[in-house]
């Protein structure tokens, strides 16, 4: 019996989507988005398009970094204005 990796990648993407939508704190969501990107890259590599896999790994990395910079900046502004406990 052989378990192909496509099923593991499908579970990876569904768990990443459900966790990314249903978590409430913004910092918890980034980790689930990283899991979603891992599933996408593994499905692309199973198709055999390796150049697309390299480029998409770079793009998910850049997207996560940009969102984290935005989140830290928003929290700093809220702390500066005294709205955060």
């Amino acid at each position: 019996m052989v378990i192909e990796f496509v099923y593991a990648a499908a579970i990876l993407m569904i768990v990443g989507a459900l966790g990314g939508v249903l978590q409430t704190r913004p910092i918890d969501k980034f980790l689930m988005l990283a899991v979603l990107g891992d599933g996408l890259i593994s499905i692309v590599a199973t198709f055999g398009y390796l150049d697309v896999a390299m480029a998409s790994s770079f793009m998910t990395f850049v997207g996560i970094i940009i969102m984290m910079i935005g989140l830290v900046r928003v929290l700093e502004i809220r702390k500066m204005r005294g709205e955060l406990g």
Partner: protein, 93 residues
């Protein structure tokens, strides 16, 4: 268990449709999207990944690559708008 290599585009297509459905409902009705606007941008990542997966199932590689490359530019503009709105006084609705 049946082999997955023959039915790979089918799995990719239905997975993409599922992700678009979950992500679309999450962007509109998700928890805390009305009070904290950055949560809505983070939820927007899920349907964009689903659309990229549907592109992949039809072997439109160049379209998928362009779509994935345009997404961070979109995020830069939206995050900039949110920071500007936060500087001006925050959300009230």
């Amino acid at each position: 268990m049946i082999s997955a290599t023959g039915t790979l585009p089918l799995i990719s297509f239905y997975l993409g449709l599922t992700l678009v459905l979950i992500g679309g409902l999450g962007v509109v009705f998700g928890p805390k999207t009305s009070t904290e606007p950055i949560v809505r941008i983070i939820n927007l990542t899920v349907p964009s990944t689903g659309v990229a997966l549907i592109f992949l199932s039809y072997n439109y590689t160049l379209a998928m690559l362009t779509f994935l490359s345009v997404n961070p530019i979109l995020y830069i503009i939206m995050i900039r708008a949110i920071i500007r709105l936060e500087e001006m006084g925050g959300f009230t609705s």
